[in-house]
């Protein structure tokens, strides 16, 4: 190579070459460019706008009789809405203090003034099966709430895990009463 390139290829005392600059600049530019291309490619896998738009559900709870449950759908997953009887409320409150895997009071799992309405996801916290107990005549488990047939998790009337492999209570989604009879989940 000709001598006029010596300045760029010569290694200085601390091991720095002038040409290092162009390597860093080129790789830096390519890196930023590559990353900005990567972002859309990863982002496109996330829920699309139509999926996100379907992420709230309104449920009319007025027709549910005490002791009865209905199944609704929230984010394409089953949602259990149950109206507790006076007996069940008393039983759940009595259990509030007992030893549970995931301690929670009934009052924490319902809305003030609507203590008889229990809204939970119908998704077992073990591996995601749909527990039984929401429909007439189904096995409600040892604690009278829900029973997951896949791996034998027993939930009580307040949807709290009492026995079996599931680690958590049935999830209570974010929801609010938009009127006395209608809830909006999500």
């Amino acid at each position: 190579m000709a001598t006029d390139t010596a300045a760029t290829t010569e290694v200085s005392e601390d091991g720095v070459r002038r040409r290092d600059w162009i390597h860093i600049a080129a790789l830096g530019t390519a890196g930023v460019g590559g990353a900005s291309v990567l972002f859309p490619l990863i982002s496109q896998m996330a829920p699309s706008a139509d999926v996100l738009a379907a992420s709230t559900t309104e449920v009319d709870v007025s027709a549910i009789q005490p002791g009865q449950s209905i199944k609704a759908t929230f984010r394409k997953q089953p949602l259990f809405v149950k109206r507790l009887t006076a007996d069940e409320i008393a039983k759940a409150k009595a259990d509030d203090a007992s030893d549970m895997r995931d301690p929670a009071k009934l009052a924490d799992r319902t809305k003030a003034g609507h203590e008889d309405v229990l809204v939970t996801m119908g998704v077992c916290t073990h591996l995601g099966c749909v527990p039984l107990g929401a429909a007439e005549g189904e096995n409600k488990g040892e604690f009278g709430g829900y029973f997951c047939p896949c791996h034998g998790s027993h939930y009580d009337v307040a949807g709290r895990i009492r026995k079996g492999p599931a680690p958590k209570n049935l999830v209570v989604p974010e929801y609010e009463f938009t009127s006395d009879t209608v809830i909006r989940v999500g």
């Binding site: 496109q44 699309s48 706008a49 139509d50």
Partner: protein, 453 residues
């Protein structure tokens, strides 16, 4: 293969040594596109388009695989899923526009790559196989692009599928059953859409396979160059890396600027508005044309308006429809025999005065006319223009090129690439006349023979 002076891959760390013993993939890359591949030192920017075509293929595969995650190949929902991609999927609009314009840019790049091949006669020995594989890639690309255009299931998609599969119905006897078999029905419908989607997903990987063969075949004689004089000595070459990685990198930058300008500012400029109307089997758009990259061949197809008959008897030998189809496919299949039609031992158009005249004033205007007429409505004067251009197209390859290669007196070639670049070559001055092998250089590959003048 490589030239004797090619740099050898030397793994440095214990890990790269271990890899090199078990699976020498880094060595393969080093010898293919790294410092281990000596390349003529005089390549101009026309030699960028191979790497760019490879980039386009990767671009199409990446964006295409992503689009397939959101698309459904079902006649009932296909059009809606494309709109779903455009409106709902995160960055879906960008990925789809990149894929659609990516196809156009792939063809721009490929046409420039082929143009380079024509002008510098890259198809000549010892590189015939590279050329033949390239024609195969081009045919696969056309099939892939056509089937991809059907997938949005708009009006142009539907009628494009109808017209292109209709080409096969021109074949005598088996034509119409063949068309029905290709479509899986009497008109394009779900069956056709599904199989086109399946094949549109498959073919790019077939192309990638043929591209590997194409590059493999290239590495046997090594790259050609603008003088057409083969590499004779070390001073004729530079290592691919960093010299051509840098030059190709610059070309890639220019390409990306143009490409992103189209994607972000003119995303539908090359498309047809009619394709945003859902497929309707009962209504054909008034002006139906293929995508721009098919126009020259579409013009050849439409140039045949009369049957081939025995004069004065009225007996039809070949129908116009079939003639058009034969000519259209023939215009590309012709390229398969190009290495044997152009017998001139001189490669580069720069040293072929007669060839160059016919190239710039014959072939290139002809292609421009065919391109324009292919996109124009099928009426006068475009029909006559297409007919004249089609006639010249075949005349050029089948008659003019073989004759030129016999009668032309080429300009004197430089002794070597080094001489062409520097104006002088200190290496063997003696064997200038007669033999052109440059003496006992040993490493010069087969086919490095050049005529003395």
């Amino acid at each position: 293969m490589s030239f004797a002076w090619a740099k050898q891959y030397e793994p440095q760390s214990a890990f790269t040594k271990w890899i090199d013993e078990k699976l020498p993939l880094p060595r393969l890359v080093y010898n293919a596109v790294g410092a281990g591949y000596p390349v003529p030192r005089n390549l101009n920017y026309m030699w960028n388009f191979g790497v760019l075509a490879g980039f386009c293929l990767m671009l199409q595969i990446v964006t295409g695989v992503v689009l397939a995650m959101h698309y459904a190949a079902n006649g009932l929902v296909a059009f809606a899923t494309v709109e779903h991609i455009m409106r709902d999927v995160n960055y879906g609009w960008m990925l789809r526009y990149a894929h659609a314009n990516g196809a156009s840019f792939f063809f721009i790049v490929i046409y420039l790559h082929i143009f380079r091949g024509f002008f510098y006669s890259s198809y000549k020995a010892p590189r015939e196989m590279i050329w033949l594989l390239g024609v195969v890639i081009f045919l696969l690309m056309m099939a892939t692009a056509f089937m991809g255009y059907v997938l949005p299931w708009g009006q142009m998609s539907f009628w494009g599928a109808q017209v292109i599969t209709g080409l096969f119905s021109a074949i005598p006897l088996v034509g119409e059953p063949l068309q029905i078999w290709l479509l899986g029905g009497f008109a394009p419908d779900n069956a056709a859409l599904n199989r086109f989607f399946s094949l549109h997903f498959l073919l790019p990987f077939v192309i990638a396979g043929v591209v590997i063969l194409h590059i493999w075949a290239l590495h046997i004689p090594g790259s050609s160059n603008p003088t057409g004089v083969e590499v004779k000595q070390e001073s004729d070459t530079v290592p691919f890396h960093p010299y051509y990685t840098a030059k190709d990198g610059f070309g890639l930058g220019v390409f990306l600027i143009l490409f992103t300008a189209m994607v972000f500012f003119l995303p539908n400029a090359l498309g047809h508005p009619d394709n945003y109307i859902e497929a309707n089997p009962l209504s054909t758009p008034a002006h139906i044309v293929p995508e721009w990259y098919f126009w020259p061949f579409y013009a050849i197809l439409r140039a045949f308006t009369g049957d081939l008959t025995i004069p004065f008897t009225g007996i039809v030998l070949v129908q116009a429809k079939l003639l058009g189809v034969i000519a259209m496919f023939g215009s590309i299949l012709l390229w398969f025999v190009l290495p044997w039609l152009d017998k001139s031992p001189v490669r580069s158009g720069h040293y072929r005065p007669l060839f160059r005249k016919f190239f710039w004033f014959g072939l290139i205007p002809t292609m421009a006319v065919l391109f324009y007429c292919g996109g124009a409505p099928a009426e006068e004067p475009f029909v006559v223009l297409s007919q004249l251009a089609t006639a010249y197209y075949f005349l050029h390859f089948l008659v003019i090129l073989p004759i030129i290669s016999q009668i032309e007196v080429p300009k004197p070639l430089p002794f070597s690439i080094t001489e062409a670049v520097l104006g002088k070559d200190k290496a063997p001055e003696a064997p200038r006349a007669g033999s052109v092998d440059g003496g006992d250089l040993g490493a010069a590959p087969e086919g490095s023979l050049q005529p003395a003048e």
